[in-house]
Symmetry: C5
Subunit: 336 residues, 5 copies
């Protein structure tokens, strides 16, 4: 679907043009054409390939989709693929793609499988004619900047998830299947973001620094700034990744600890039952000469003995933390 097809000159929009006129405007060296497509049909792509004279391998990449982010040069044409990441309602990450072809006087962006639009990019560009004057190179920068800026809220969402997981681990809620699944799912999301960011971070070095495509050369500082943004995202991902690996190990310790607590509880309660059972067993023996059996208060005395011993044991186990009390108290103290 065609979103937009316009000609810009001296940093200002000149006219919307129909698709077949694109190739005419491209030959004019002082204007540039900016075309935006969304989920295009194969025929539309074919049309674009002819109008702009694009390489068949690049067009194939756009058509097939599921490419890694990359920056490729086909002769004078720059072909950039970026991932568009969005969090859906259930917190899952949806991956769309945008392929951008940049020539010395045209930009063609083709967006696939994503609801994110680039209207604000066009607005921003039109608001800054002194930068837009740099032509296609600045449009590419603005598009990339918009895509990369949308990675930050996703990183923040993942960091929030990690904090949520940490809170669960140290509150003792971590020993359920659901918590472990959350840890795993965060790792998965992290991997998705990583696979969108890392190849782009590597590829973007081709747009600033040493030998760069002609169209980007007057905008070195701007592309380096994108590199810097990706660097920060990479660092954040590395950080979450590192802490998540630690969280997995720490959680295993917590599970072992809670297992140990269960065994202690089991042992304590077993003892609380074993004592009266043993005493009852003793007074259930059939010896002829057992003086206690004849005492008037033998029975209540036996019951009292049972209760007293159990109360004693109960306090002993409580103090030792085997009934779950003191250990949790310690935890609470530390959390406050």
């Amino acid at each position: 679907m065609l979103i937009n097809c316009a000609v810009y000159q001296y940093g200002k929009k000149v006219a919307d043009i129909p698709k077949p006129e694109i190739s005419d405007y491209i030959e004019q060296s002082d204007a540039f054409v900016w075309v935006a497509l969304r989920d295009p049909e194969p025929e539309e792509l074919d049309e674009m390939r002819e109008e702009f004279g694009l390489h068949e391998l690049a067009i194939e990449d756009v058509q097939k989709g599921h490419q890694m982010p990359k920056v490729e040069e086909y002769g004078q044409t720059l072909f950039v693929v970026l991932h568009l990441l969005e969090l859906d309602a259930e917190g899952k990450i949806q991956i769309g793609e945008v392929g951008i072809f940049v020539g010395s006087n045209y930009v063609l962006s083709i967006r696939n499988r994503s609801r994110t639009n680039f209207l604000n990019v066009r607005e921003r560009c039109e608001r800054e004619p002194h930068l837009l004057e740099h032509g296609a190179g600045f449009v590419l920068y603005a598009l990339m900047d918009a895509v990369i800026d949308r990675y930050f809220p996703i990183i923040r969402a993942l960091e929030a998830e990690l904090e949520n997981i940490e809170a669960k681990i140290f509150s003792g809620d971590s020993t359920t299947r659901a918590s472990i699944e959350e840890i795993y799912m965060l790792k998965r999301k992290l991997m998705i973001v990583q696979h969108s960011v890392n190849p782009l971070h590597e590829a973007i070095t081709r747009l600033h620094g040493g030998r760069v495509p002609h169209v980007c050369s007057p905008l070195q500082e701007y592309y380096r700034d994108l590199d810097d943004h990706l660097g920060r995202i990479t660092h954040s991902i590395e950080g979450i990744r590192d802490m998540l690996n630690t969280a997995i190990q720490v959680n295993l310790s917590m599970i072992s600890l809670s297992e140990s607590a269960v065994t202690k509880k089991l042992a304590a309660w077993a003892a609380l039952f074993a004592v009266p059972t043993m005493i009852a067993g003793v007074y259930g023996m059939n010896f002829e000469h057992m003086p206690e059996l004849k005492w008037a208060f033998g029975y209540p005395a036996a019951l009292t003995l049972m209760v007293v011993l159990d109360i004693g044991l109960w306090f002993y186990f409580k103090r030792a933390g085997w009934l779950g009390g003191s250990d949790q108290m310690i935890t609470v103290k530390i959390k406050d």
Copy 2:
């Protein structure tokens, strides 16, 4: 076994030729010879070595097999080894090999231990005479492209296996020997694919970018596209690998958790038995003065006490999740 032996000129097939004429055609600079062998006998290899003037070390590699994927130059001849991966009926990965010799006007492909054939490659080449005009370099590209394209379904199969394992882990089925074996076996398959892909990914950089063999130079974009494909495969492998390592750790947590659940169940049931046994013990004591023993409803009262206490305990344990109920309920809620 000889599969094919033909001469091509200006992108079109000219003639099938007998093997002994190969060396004659190689001397003609405007035609190229394309020969395909399958599981060749040593004598056939010797014949080829003489016709094409191949290096003995390369021929030895083909004969011995079990090489790593590689791209080597012997003077003007390019020698490429690729792994052919196939999933057999039981989901195991079978590894075949193809060795390709490329000179300025010949291509010799020797396929070993694989049922995969390259008929479609020949068809594709003959359908695109404008590309086949580039000669041996394009045939090499087409063969490599065909081999690499067949890696994708294998990667997808491994991803499906991983998803299957994840589903098992979080449904609680993961705590069996069989599940752990599946995890291990997936790791093994992953390693096989990795050993086929990684060396090739490294080697392929010699065919595009900087100084490349003469025969590949007009097809830079095409070889870079192969590199890009291998990059995507490498990323997918890294992703599966990473998640699998996490799955192993998470599964250990799940096993510990289920162990803990077993201990809780044991403890709960032990308590359910211990309470009536203790009460029975008390009323089994032989004290002379135990008023309850003389009550008309003493026995049913005692039985009722046992049952009531056990029902109480049962609900208590049920609510605490020690009988396996509430924890699974939580899991179910999260899975939906």
Copy 3:
């Protein structure tokens, strides 16, 4: 907030000047201006941008904050971002930032979210006029040196925390939730410091060695010394990190060990109860011909048997370490 704005010439302070005169002094090549801001308002930043002619992307970085440490060149201007780390009262690490713009004859430092001030840096510079004569390059060095020097006490604090954790692990205190949380929190702090140090360590190589900004070139040894300091910090961080990972694993072993000790204790005590219960059961049988039941001392003999067996078992378990004694004794021996 403006902290300071002064002109220096030949290594000595000449005058405090009002902000609007900055641009006048910058044009004089034999003097340099040193301006320090703290948590500036956007208007102040705008003013500075105009006076010094700074790049909008760099100003944006300062305004937004939360940058990674970096060294960037915007034409002749050097832009350096450093993290200011402080331990607060609860031992948490607070991260502030300082952005430093350095031109051939000016230094502008902008400090954000940090209580640390740089008064001592100015004093040090004024005390060493022979070095301050090198101009802006030396001021940059002195500021960086002051920031990096403040990392050392934080590293020492983390090392102390690690030693504290180690002491707990090997004294047996490590098997509580609180200890595991401490381990995790140390890892988190370590990560924060790492994210402040590593990018800076990478970036600082641009200030010495090969091609360096003009303003730094006469101070090569000094910048290399900073690199060396960062190298030591990096090594310490790596060391803590490595030991902490080992500590996590060792702690898990300790937890498993203590779980095993609990099971042993449970087993030992179960046996101590089971023996008298079994004997009591035997003498509670209702056989008609049980000679012991008629003995005058049958009952005390049975009780004695119970006690004697239990004492025997108790010593047996004590010696085997199942009651917690001997294992702890061994530990104590080793710790002394």
Copy 4:
């Protein structure tokens, strides 16, 4: 001990010569001397040092032994150290060493602590005079090829050990001390091979590709082939290493799983005993009014109740896999 000392010319052996004549022949540029020593005495080494004019540091390396594999140039002399690996009768890896000095017209090989001899290398060289004509460089290649070829069977032995360990893990035999020790010992052997192969793999790049020693330059393809062999060995080692690490983790899961199975068995059997004991306790109570006690078939009815309940429980536990049955059945199914 001197093994051999011969002069070769135009790819053919000319004569065996006594040691003192070595230095005479070295001066002749069209012949080369090939000397082989085994476990030499210090005096023999001194003699060689003088005859060939070798560097004292290299001689010291040979004398002390326990060097890493390496390729060093001392002026025009090439000094190569290789490890000779052999599996002894108990499957342990024995490490010998061979030091090779190569000049433009001599080869001196000194073998230490190894039963492996190089007779077949000499035979191979003499069988291929067209290659031996390349002189000392080819002899070096032939020696290195022989050494490296002997690494393959060791790699295969380690792979077989890994498969053996895998079979044990998934058959359930892995939960014994002996199995864990086998895993550890395989890791150790792997490390030994790795320490013999990795430094050599790094060093061998100096013998082909870019700037290479004069003596190796006409044999580029041959040295690259050695590099390729080492690459395959390195890949195999990495593979075993990777799978072994996974095996260690998987085995821990298996141990936890089998622990869980033991606990289940314990719980099941405890229940099977607890039910009759509880029923017996109930009918052991001393209430006056317990109608069942007076029934003629009360006792057999009670026994029947016990047996019936236990049979029911037994089937229940069997089906749930708590008695070890069904889980193993699943495993068996999967293994076939």
Copy 5:
């Protein structure tokens, strides 16, 4: 404290000189001065700085201590820092430092916090005048060689500790707190050695190979030999490190295994008690019609039944290894 201060010419010692004359001799190009200090006072350092004209940053490094090993050039002066490692009586590693300043005709070594002296270095140098003739460069080599040679016995001590730990793990002694602490402490020591060796290994490449300081250039082979020594040490450290990580994991498996063994023992003994208790319970029931109760041999028959069943069970558990027997037997067999 001044240890030594002497002038050397043509490889031989000429005279001991007083400190103030140092600067005079330095100006003579055909002699060189060799000064050794130990734990110097600040004033001594100041004196040296003036006599030799050293850089203040280097002097500061020596004064503060706790530097990483490094090789730095200050103009024509080479500044080398090395760690001196010693094992004290309790097996702990003590870290001293030596800072060496090397100019074209002087060597100044400053040793701190170490009992190791360099007398033998001076002796060695004076014994080899043909090498000492190379001047300061050879003295530096000799000092570094002496320092690095002292790392080998420490590596061997750590290897011995690792073997000791392995022996404990596989003999079953590893499941105590003390063993785990030993593992951890070995890791710590390893880290210390690593932090002394790795930076030095990196730094030493500046003294041989490409562009090297003038003073080292005629001794390339000697410095490369030091690099080789450090390479061997690094390999050994990597090996110990790798095996230690494996040992930690294997030990955790062993602990889990021994925990499992405890649970089995608990289960077996519980069964041995439960059987007689159950039988006693049955015959403790109060049914009127229980024929066995009236049998003359009913009581001994019941006791016999209990004993026979327990003996049967005991053999069953013994064979299954649940009483600790057979598993240990297997282990013993494997160890021999």
